[in-house]
């Protein structure tokens, strides 16, 4: 048998205190989520004692018209804001990467600002903006009534996309683009045939981030939503104000499952892309 190597100081899999530490982190991270999921299958109306297995709460979720509306609203907002953030963020990234222009550092800072500004400040400023400066009409048909929320979500999502894509562009070989042009491609053709494929993993990561940021945003949405538009997190908050029912658990579990599935798909595509582009 091979002699065991001496234990390193950071060899956490073999050191008892470190193993304990890792265990604690995992417990605090996942136990609440596990409870949430478990109690969504609980027969009792209260989240305290386990009385028996049921899927009734999921049925109730699908019967609850308000909750479904809120859920559809959230998905619509997330989809729209992701789409716009993606285009906007990618364009900002390309501009920052390729061109030199006056006040570029200031521009770069301004783009990153929404990431560092506290959400509550963003929320309040959006509230003021949409009530005083650009009042969003209240009686618009769906989905136009979500416009103010979508705009708010774009404003805090696209900087993340821009930063991720900008980082990816740093590894781009300019000769690839010149090669495409040399072979006959015009400016746009070269952009879409060569630069966009290179950006793809970053675009996917950015989209994933923008989507989840939008889906679970509460604070900014709370301040920008009109009286008649409700998103899923806002709806859950209003339900929880009375009591945490297993219905909320069930709805949250569904949302969690959705984001996990989306993330897995995104990472799969990204992993494949990165493996392929690695040898550029």
């Amino acid at each position: 048998m091979r002699a065991r190597e001496p234990k390193g100081p950071l060899d956490y899999a073999r050191s008892t205190p470190l193993r304990l530490w890792v265990g604690l982190v995992l417990v605090f991270l996942y136990a609440p989520l596990a409870c949430l999921v478990a109690f969504s299958f609980n027969e009792s109306k209260r989240n305290i004692v386990w009385t028996g297995f049921t899927t009734d709460w999921y049925g109730k979720v699908f019967d609850d018209g308000d909750l479904i509306t809120a859920f559809v609203n959230s998905l619509t907002i997330a989809a729209l804001s992701t789409l716009v953030s993606l285009v906007l963020g990618a364009m900002v990234a390309v501009a920052l990467w390729r061109f030199r222009f006056p006040f570029k550092p200031a521009f770069e800072g301004l783009v990153a600002l929404p990431i560092v500004v506290p959400e509550i400040c963003m929320g309040v400023s959006m509230l003021v903006f949409f009530s005083r400066i650009l009042p969003w009409p209240t009686d618009l048909p769906w989905p136009l009534d979500l416009g103010s929320i979508v705009i708010a979500h774009i404003s805090f999502s696209f900087p993340f996309v821009a930063i991720i894509v900008r980082a990816r562009l740093a590894s781009f070989n300019r000769e690839l683009e010149e090669g495409a042009k040399d072979l006959g491609a015009g400016e746009f053709r070269a952009f879409f045939d060569v630069l966009v494929p290179h950006m793809r993993p970053a675009l996917i990561a950015g989209a994933l981030l923008a989507f989840t940021l939008s889906l679970d945003d509460f604070v900014i949405t709370f301040f920008t939503a009109g009286p008649d538009t409700v998103t899923f997190p806002v709806k859950v908050y209003s339900m929880v104000r009375f009591s945490v029912t297993p219905e909320v658990n069930a709805a949250s579990t569904l949302l969690m499952a959705l984001t996990v599935v989306l993330t897995i798909i995104g990472l799969r595509i990204q992993g494949r892309d990165v493996a392929e582009m690695g040898n550029g």
């Binding site: 000769e175 690839l176 010149e178 090669g179 042009k181 491609a185 045939d193 494929p197 392929e276």
Partner: protein, 373 residues
């Protein structure tokens, strides 16, 4: 061979800020030739190539290809294709798609496209790897993809940016012949940028040597080596012994240069047409210096010159054995070190010269080159 001029470069200048990367270059490249732009790194040769491709715009001057001014022609409309130094093979496309790309952009019909892709890949002997992705190819294979991709468009000129620099020694040697073979077959004019003089000498019909953005000399490889026109050219191409001297005699039939560094006058069998008494530099290539053991005081006769000229005594200080040849460093009485190269036509043990030996160095009156600047 007097082929017609394909590329005419007229007083071309390219500035980056205050720095002139290409400085007033005028040059003609002929149809079907293998032309090399040679020079040390940073001499502007790559900028010149990029100007030809249209990837840079000239600050002054013109480029004409087939008598058409390229000033307003963007890179994607020029009859020119390039093999980039990094090859720039598209990583997300298969070999087939890489080679087909330029034809797709040009909207060549699928059937013809298919046939031309196969033909181009056969030319570079890559037809078996048609469905591979670039990350499954070696560096040399990727270069072949880049070559096929450029040639499939049937350009008037193929530009090659340091095509051999990224390859290992054996492959580089093989690729030299390969490039020559391919050029022979397709008959396209090749313009190659290289910093490696051996590459340029071995492959090119003609070379242009550049230094600090300025064209130094345009000549065939052998003329560039045997008749350099400046000290920079003489020194850059190969190795040379340079002696500063004064032009003593300058007649149509012969000339004599006195050099304090050498200690003996240098006799040349041709006139120099320089101002008498002016400072000149005489260059003698190491392989053109003959070496003989020095037994007595009677120097060997070189012929063609007066006695006492073109012969000097020295002592071997150091020798570098390079397998096929040996380079000797010989110290003269004046302290000057002269390099002499001897082919090892016998085995090392039979070489006949050792460090510390006293020798006569001599050269033919036709061998030295006289440089006025």
């Amino acid at each position: 061979m007097t082929a017609k001029t394909l590329i005419r470069i007229e007083q071309l200048t390219k500035r980056f800020g205050d720095f002139a990367a290409v400085d007033d270059v005028s040059l003609e490249i002929r149809e079907g030739e293998f032309f090399a732009l040679l020079g040390p790194s940073g001499c502007g040769k790559t900028t010149l190539l990029r100007l030809l491709a249209g990837l840079e715009t000239p600050s002054e001057g013109r480029i004409l290809i087939d008598d058409v001014d390229m000033a307003r022609v963007p890179p994607n409309k020029r009859p020119v294709n390039m093999v980039f130094q990094s090859y720039a093979v598209f990583p997300h496309m298969s070999v087939r798609d890489n080679v087909a790309y330029g034809l797709k952009v040009d909207k060549v019909a699928a059937k013809e496209r298919q046939a031309r892709v196969i033909e181009a890949l056969e030319l570079v002997k890559l037809e078996d790897l048609i469905d591979r992705k670039p990350d499954q190819l070696s560096g040399g294979q990727r270069q072949r993809v880049a070559l096929a991709r450029a040639l499939v468009k049937r350009p008037r000129v193929l530009l090659l940016d340091e095509p051999l620099s990224a390859l290992d020694a054996k492959l580089r040697e093989a690729m030299r012949f390969e490039l020559a073979r391919i050029q022979d077959k397709v008959g396209v004019t090749f313009v190659m940028v290289t910093h490696d003089q051996n590459e340029a000498l071995a492959m090119a019909c003609r070379c242009a040597l550049m230094h600090k953005g300025v064209l130094q000399q345009v000549a065939t490889p052998s003329d560039l080596y045997e008749y350099p026109n400046t000290r920079f050219v003489a020194d850059f191409i190969g190795s040379i012994n340079l002696f500063e001297g004064r032009l003593e005699v300058d007649e149509p039939g012969h000339a004599v240069v006195a050099s304090a560094a050498l200690g003996v006058p240098i006799y040349l069998d041709h006139g120099v047409t320089g101002a008498s008494g002016s400072t000149v530099w005489v260059g003698i290539r190491p392989e053109k210096i003959d070496m003989a053991p020095r037994d007595g005081d009677a120097p060997p006769d070189q012929g063609g010159g007066a006695v006492g000229h073109n012969v000097v005594a020295g002592e071997i200080r150091h020798s570098a054995y390079l397998g096929s040849e040996t380079i000797y460093e010989i110290a003269l009485a004046t302290g000057t070190i002269v390099k002499a190269l001897r082919s090892n036509i016998r085995r090392y043990e039979e070489r006949g010269f050792d460090d510390g030996d006293s020798v006569w160095l001599s050269w033919d009156a036709r061998s030295p080159v006289v440089l006025l600047s």
